[in-house]
């Protein structure tokens, strides 16, 4: 019961608290302590120090442990920087949004933890929809036209997508007709255990509907547009939260149905669908990187790319699956770094257009160098984690029965790297002729410290590669019935 | 005396005799509902009598088509009326497949009316004819998805038999019949140029469909047209009422009682509909008709799938 209280009830209570107490500093300190508690408990559950016993429709397995830790980690850092972020001057209209910020953030934590920990499809659905509802007003933080449009599109598209996922869940019920699962609740583990008895046609339909529906939320092609708009127009901490954890929440639903479909005859079909989804996302990122002129959109497309890579890895299976799981951690941390530095740049230049942002290295050297490091990290340069996880995914692809896909993937990644590099080096180095003012007097603020800490964390995890993470991922692969 | 032989002729005489009364009845109710005293119920008879006495004048530009088509129209309508059962009375013309004949005799009547309207050469009448032809195109499927779907389900092809196959005993069939009758009601409104589709009272040429086609007819020709339009209205009324006979209880008296009560209810419904609705825009009429067809298709699908 204690963990239920910490993971779900406490954030809800805090959210209510934030609706009553209007002082931003108090809200911040309470939210931060909640997130620390959440992180500590998630970590001890992950490390096996704490044995959980959750009520109702919740339980913990290796997958939810793992994803919960990622969520908790991302959330902690986002809350940590939120206060210094909120202190920045904004337009008068956006001033009002600050009052709702921590309220919605805490509600988001409750909903997302519930989605991660749920072991019942219905519960998962309700919680996943609740995360959308909590994030949508946060996208509208700046209260300008673009943010409004992004919020509308995100809310609408994701609501419809989630509705489709619900149809998929109903199809899953249909597939259980005539088996011993008929009339039972939609618990994951019961379905996984008795998956062989499910009707394959309905199971396939269910997989397609859940995958397509949730892919609006995962942000993989061809349903990525709402997510890209939202991520690029939301305030940076929220964008980091969405890229780092919200997308994984949706991916979790796909993983659950994938786990069910694994022992059945439809397994190959599901794998093919995931591979197509992944490759298509890489392709979309590849195409749009050529023409993107907005650096936050560029980062959003980078999210599409990396989630596509994770999906691809899951679809390939084996070693690539392990790589995909590692990629989920590294990408989540990397996205926080990227969005926070990009947010710094944005607050200085007041523009998201690449053409208006020049000579960042001169005007804000600390942010500039960190941004450069973050770019190198996301592109898979060692010693940052993405390198190791991508290598694993590539290795898995090479030794799978579809090695030709590796060539295609490499090709896409190479061009994405080149185009991102072009944009980022333009921003960092390009000197504007009539602008040679203020050189290198950016003071070291809290966000820089956070980013450096995150980079250290990332490098530590990826270089040391703690055995506990490896063991947990191996447990997940065992749950998915893969033997390496 | 064997009444079986006589029931056909009696039925057709009843139809011909009562049809104007039915129209007058509707008009009277409509007048009362809109707060007027209105013309007497027997007014259609007086109109017919007046027209019958008058001399026929044809336009100079018209050909023989204009002269023969009122008569053909009238006769053909009567032939169609002769195929309808009143209560349990077997109609005069009844054979397997007469549902098709019924649909196309009505089509023939319309064809001649359109031809005659175009024959005169007036632009207004041509416009009316074109509208009539367009809407007929959308109205035709409704017939086949109402009565036709009952025929399809029972496997019978004679109108008399089709109606006799209706058994109002299980719920899904009752719903099926009710929805059929809704579709048929829309069909009746369209075919008889009643209110939401066409306004029988207006004499503004631009908005008329049916009335504009007979602008240039007079005297005996107009008498024939008018009379056949009354009969047509009554034909559709019978089509509508016949859905609701408890055909399993075979009693002539009960049939007549239901027929009279049904006519009264239907006329009241028509009067109410005409009072509370306004005429549709011309461009909205096809979708209104398609709506009725859609109901018919859905109905047929649902019924065949649940059986």
């Amino acid at each position: 019961m204690f963990e239920f209280f910490i993971f779900i009830l406490l954030p809800l209570i805090t959210s209510l608290f934030c609706s009553v107490v209007k002082n931003l500093r108090i809200q911040y300190s309470v939210s931060l302590s909640v997130s620390v508690l959440h992180l500590i408990l998630a970590l001890s559950v992950f490390l096996g120090y704490y044995h959980t016993n959750l009520p109702f429709f919740f339980s913990v397995d290796s997958l939810s442990k793992f994803f919960l830790l990622i969520l908790s980690n991302v959330y902690f850092w986002v809350v940590l920087v939120s206060f210094s972020y909120l202190k920045r001057p904004v337009t008068h209209a956006a001033e009002k949004s600050k009052g709702f910020y921590f309220l919605l953030l805490n509600f988001y934590l409750a909903a997302n933890s519930a989605a991660m920990l749920s072991n019942h499809f219905g519960m998962y659905w309700v919680a996943a929809e609740a995360t959308t509802l909590s994030v949508a007003p946060l996208i509208y933080f700046y209260r300008n036209e673009e943010a409004l449009e992004a919020m509308w599109k995100y809310l609408f598209l994701v609501s419809i997508g989630i509705a489709f996922a619900f149809i998929g869940i109903l199809f899953l019920t249909l597939s259980a007709k005539g088996s011993i699962l008929e009339g039972k609740q939609l618990f994951f583990w019961e379905f996984i255990r008795n998956a062989k008895q499910l009707n394959p046609i309905w199971l396939k339909a269910s997989f397609i509907f859940i995958f397509v529906g949730l892919s609006t939320k995962i942000g993989i092609a061809p349903m990525h547009s709402g997510d890209v708009d939202a991520t690029s127009n939301a305030p940076s901490p929220i964008a980091a939260l969405m890229s780092g954890s919200l997308r994984l929440t949706a991916l979790m639903g796909v993983l659950r149905i994938f786990e069910i479909i694994r022992p059945t005859s439809s397994y190959e079909f599901a794998k093919t669908i995931l591979i197509i989804g992944g490759l298509l996302s890489l392709f979309v990122a590849f195409v749009f990187m050529f023409k993107v002129t907005n650096y936050k959109r560029m980062l959003a497309y980078s999210s599409v790319e990396h989630l596509g890579l994770i999906t691809l890895g899951i679809g390939i299976g084996g070693l690539a699956f392990v790589g995909a799981m590692y990629h989920a951690i590294y990408n989540s941390i990397m996205k926080v770094i990227l969005f926070l530095t990009a947010g710094n740049i944005h607050s200085k230049y007041k523009s998201r257009e690449v053409s208006k942002v020049t000579s960042v290295l001169n005007r804000m050297p600390k942010t500039g160098w960190l941004f450069l490091l973050a770019f190198l990290g996301i592109s898979g340069i060692p010693p940052f984690g993405i390198f190791f996880s991508e290598i694993k995914i590539f290795e898995g692809m090479l030794f799978s029965n579809k090695p030709a896909l590796l060539v295609l993937t490499m090709f896409f990644l190479l061009f994405i790297f080149i185009n991102m590099g072009k944009i980022i080096f333009f921003m960092l180095y390009k000197k504007n002729d009539n602008d040679n003012s203020e050189i290198g007097n950016e003071h070291f603020d809290f966000i820089h410290l956070t980013v450096i800490l995150l980079l250290i964390l990332l490098t530590t995890i990826s270089v040391l590669s703690p055995d506990v993470i490896y063991q947990n991922i191996i447990n997940i692969t065992k749950d998915f019935g893969m033997n390496l | 005396m064997d009444i079986e032989i006589l029931q056909g002729p009696i039925a057709i005489f009843v139809i011909i005799g009562i049809a104007p009364l039915f129209a007058g009845f509707i008009n009277k109710q409509k007048a009362i509902l809109t707060g007027r005293i209105g013309a007497p119920v027997l007014q259609p008879y007086y109109d017919l009598l007046r027209l019958f006495r008058k001399e026929t004048i044809n336009a100079k530009s018209s050909s023989f088509i204009s002269q023969i088509s009122p008569l053909i129209n009238f006769i053909v309508i009567i032939v169609a009326a002769a195929m309808l059962p009143i209560g349990y009375w077997k109609p005069l013309i009844s054979f397997n497949g007469d549902i098709i004949l019924f649909a196309y005799t009505l089509g023939l009547a319309r064809f001649f009316q359109i031809l005659a309207a175009m024959d005169i050469g007036s632009s207004f009448e041509g416009m009316g004819a074109s509208r009539e032809a367009t809407f007929a195109l959308f109205a035709e499927p409704i017939f086949f998805f109402t009565l036709g779907s009952v025929a399809f389900i029972s496997g019978l092809t004679s109108i008399y038999d089709i109606y006799h196959s209706i058994r109002l005993d299980n719920i899904s069939y009752i719903v099926f019949i009710i929805i059929c009758s809704i579709s048929a009601f829309i069909l009746a409104i369209t075919e008889c140029s009643r209110m939401p589709v066409d306004d029988p009272n207006t004499h503004l040429e631009l908005t008329m469909i049916h009335e504009v086609m007979i602008l240039d007819n007079s005297g005996f020709d107009l008498f024939l047209y008018l009379y056949s339009s009354y009969i047509k209205l009554f034909i559709y009324a019978i089509l509508e009422i016949s859905f609701f006979y408890p055909f399993s209880a075979k009693s002539y008296l009960l049939g007549i009682v239901i027929f009279i009560v049904g006519s009264i209810i239907l006329s009241l419904t028509l009067a109410i509909v005409e009072t509370i609705t306004s005429r549709f825009k011309m461009k909205n009429i096809p979708q209104y008709l398609l709506f009725a067809t859609a109901i018919g298709i859905l109905n047929l699908l649902i019924y065949t799938f649940t059986k």
Binding site: E145, E149 | N284
Partner: protein, 210 residues
């Protein structure tokens, strides 16, 4: 009885595809809400169970009173023009709807031979889902999009009764609450869009693209 109510549900779909009034959409939403609550309340009348009444009552409250009133309020507040803005002719739209429904009914009839399911609620629900998407695709007004989304949700609900899914009541209530909050947020968004972007149409939303 469920079948009859589902047929009425289908008729409401036809109505929604020819009406050109925003008000007509709201009425249809109310009718559908009543139909859905009737469908789910029927099994609990004999024998009567107070526990079974909670969900239909909540459904009735949310789908017949709260949401339609909220939409009406938005329409009044923003003085949205009373006609919808279709992008294709109503006639073609209805044709499309008919074709879709025929296909769905035939396919679900074929499917019902291999799986045990209730054809009519199943097909009606699925038709509502598709027609909801059509409404979103072929109408310009954002408020009509919301109505289309709600029709889609109603379809899913009906569909759920057809496959006899055994979701616990707590979760059903959760889904209802989620839908209500979604509509609430959409309403706020429309409000903001009409003031900041000066329009109630999708044409007002064209800033974000690559």
């Amino acid at each position: 009885m469920g079948n009859v109510l589902s047929i009425l549900f289908c008729l409401s779909l036809f109505y929604v595809s020819i009406t050109s009034r925003v008000k007509g959409y709201v009425t249809v939403l109310q009718i559908q809400g009543v139909l859905l609550s009737l469908i789910i309340v029927i099994p609990f009348i004999y024998p009567f169970s107070i526990y079974g009444i909670i969900l239909p009552a909540t459904l009735l409250l949310v789908k017949v009173f709260l949401i339609p009133r909220y939409i009406n309020k938005i329409i009044l507040d923003l003085d949205i023009r009373r006609v919808i803005d279709p992008t294709i002719q109503q006639f073609s739209f209805l044709l499309l709807v008919i074709a879709t429904m025929v296909v769905i009914f035939v396919v679900s009839n074929i499917l019902s031979q291999s799986t045990e399911l209730n054809v009519i609620p199943f097909a009606s629900g699925f038709s509502a889902i598709v027609i909801g998407i059509y409404i979103i695709m072929f109408r310009r007004k954002l408020i009509v999009h919301v109505a289309g989304f709600l029709i889609l949700e109603n379809g899913i609900f009906l569909f759920g009764t057809a496959v006899a899914s055994e979701l616990p009541m707590m979760i059903e209530l959760g889904t209802l609450l989620d839908v209500f909050v979604v509509v609430f947020l959409m309403g706020i968004a429309i409000n903001k869009i009409s003031t900041t972007l000066d329009g109630f149409d999708v044409t007002a939303l064209g800033r974000l693209k690559d």
